[in-house]
């Protein structure tokens, strides 16, 4: 596992039915591109987050493919329409097979 990986999510706790809410996510991750060389000239192996998804109550909100050109600590901001009380599930997939998850409940008043 890449070191210092920590997912963060900022999402509202409540929403009106049918409201479009803004979600912000950030995962601290080096996003080593695989293009760089160390001081001895050896290629530093690629190690990135290659996929990010967000689901709301099992429905996919976004499904993102990340490429090596994306910089350190990838940040996503996007919107989702909330119809019912439920749970956002955020998932980040690492090149090394690790999967990082976070969930945030949202209540429809």
């Amino acid at each position: 596992m890449a070191s210092g990986v920590k997912p963060r999510v900022k999402s509202p706790k409540t929403a009106a039915a049918g409201e479009v809410v803004t979600l912000k996510t950030l995962i601290s991750h080096p996003m080593e591109s695989g293009q760089r060389k160390d001081s001895d000239g050896n290629v530093i192996p690629r190690s990135i987050i290659n996929r990010f998804t967000c689901e709301l109550n099992g429905n996919m909100v976004v499904d993102v493919t990340l490429e090596p050109a994306i910089s350190t600590n990838p940040y996503f901001e996007f919107e989702a329409k909330v119809d019912a009380t439920g749970e956002f599930k955020f998932t980040w997939y690492d090149d090394d097979g690790d999967v990082y998850e976070d969930t945030q409940a949202i209540e429809v008043a």
Binding site: R8, K10, S28, S71, T72, N73, Y75
Partner: protein
């Protein structure tokens, strides 16, 4: 926007683009919807005759950069602050102590950042905040001091700055610190390098004008340590000095040198009255 034009080739190059509007001169900075930041205020008394009003560098940045600083989630520097919170609570060195063992919660250090650099009686010299942290590390914790503007040192300075956000900068320039302050002032107004520029040439006489693709700010350091988007990391004030002096095509002083400590004290005193804003986001 005041735009005094200088004569000479270098000045003409600097003044090119004079009058280009800044993003939003009347925008106000409120962080997380609760911390109100003073980004424009009357200049401190010692700037009498030089500047009437001082403005934070935040006002010179464009909307998107400004917005990044208005929410801690969007401010990339807060990642370093989080790292520093861990360092704060982690014991280090031969004494087995952490910062927290003596100082309590990091939030209890509110009010420390605004008064640094500050005269240290025991050492008989002006200490920057990083020097004070290192003093603690060496003498109280028995730990290795951090290098000037090393990432851990900047993260810790960023943490100490973040807990003081909204408090006015209030650096003492009289008493025993006065001679150091005067040395810093001398440096500020001394032209250096092949381009023959002083700090004042850009930041006092040409702020608001373009320097290549960027707006010159007033060189206020209330937002330091600053997350620079071009470096994608925290940058310390003395490292920034080095970059500026280098850009005048001069041999620079080193971060941590007595000259830069004096300059940091003087430049910090120019921002007296503005709110502590660091860790700020700049381009």
């Amino acid at each position: 926007m005041k735009a005094k034009l200088l004569t000479g080739i270098a000045a003409a190059a600097l003044a090119f683009g004079a009058g280009a509007a800044m993003a939003d001169e009347d925008a106000e900075l409120v962080i997380n919807g609760e911390i109100e930041i003073v980004t424009k205020t009357a200049a401190p008394a010692h700037l009498d005759g030089a500047l009437d009003e001082i403005m934070s560098g935040w006002r010179f940045r464009d909307d998107t950069t400004q917005a990044m600083q208005m929410d801690d989630f969007d401010n990339p520097a807060m990642l370093a602050v989080e790292d520093a919170l861990e360092i704060w609570a982690t014991a280090d060195g031969s004494e087995g102590k952490s910062c927290m063992d003596c100082h309590g919660a990091a939030e209890d250090m509110a009010g420390v950042k605004p008064v640094y650099p500050k005269w240290n009686e025991a050492a008989g010299e002006v200490y920057t905040l990083q020097m004070q942290v290192n003093d603690c590390r060496e003498n109280r914790m028995g730990a290795e001091p951090w290098k000037v503007d090393a990432s851990d040192a900047l993260a810790m300075e960023g943490l100490l700055s973040s807990v003081s956000r909204g408090m006015p900068m209030n650096v003492a320039i009289d008493g025993p610190a006065q001679s150091t302050w005067e040395q810093g002032k001398e440096l500020y107004y001394t032209r250096t390098g092949q381009l023959d520029l002083s700090c004042a040439t850009c930041h006092e006489q040409n702020y608001g004008n373009m320097i290549r693709a960027d707006h010159l700010s007033m060189g206020m350091v209330n937002g330091f340590p600053t997350y620079r988007l071009k470096d994608s990391k925290l940058v310390g004030v003395q490292s920034r000095f080095k970059g500026c002096v280098r850009d005048t095509r001069a041999e620079t002083y080193s971060p941590g040198s007595p000259e830069f400590i004096a300059l940091e004290l003087y430049v910090a005193s120019r921002a007296n009255g503005l709110s502590v804003e660091g860790p700020a986001v700049r381009n």
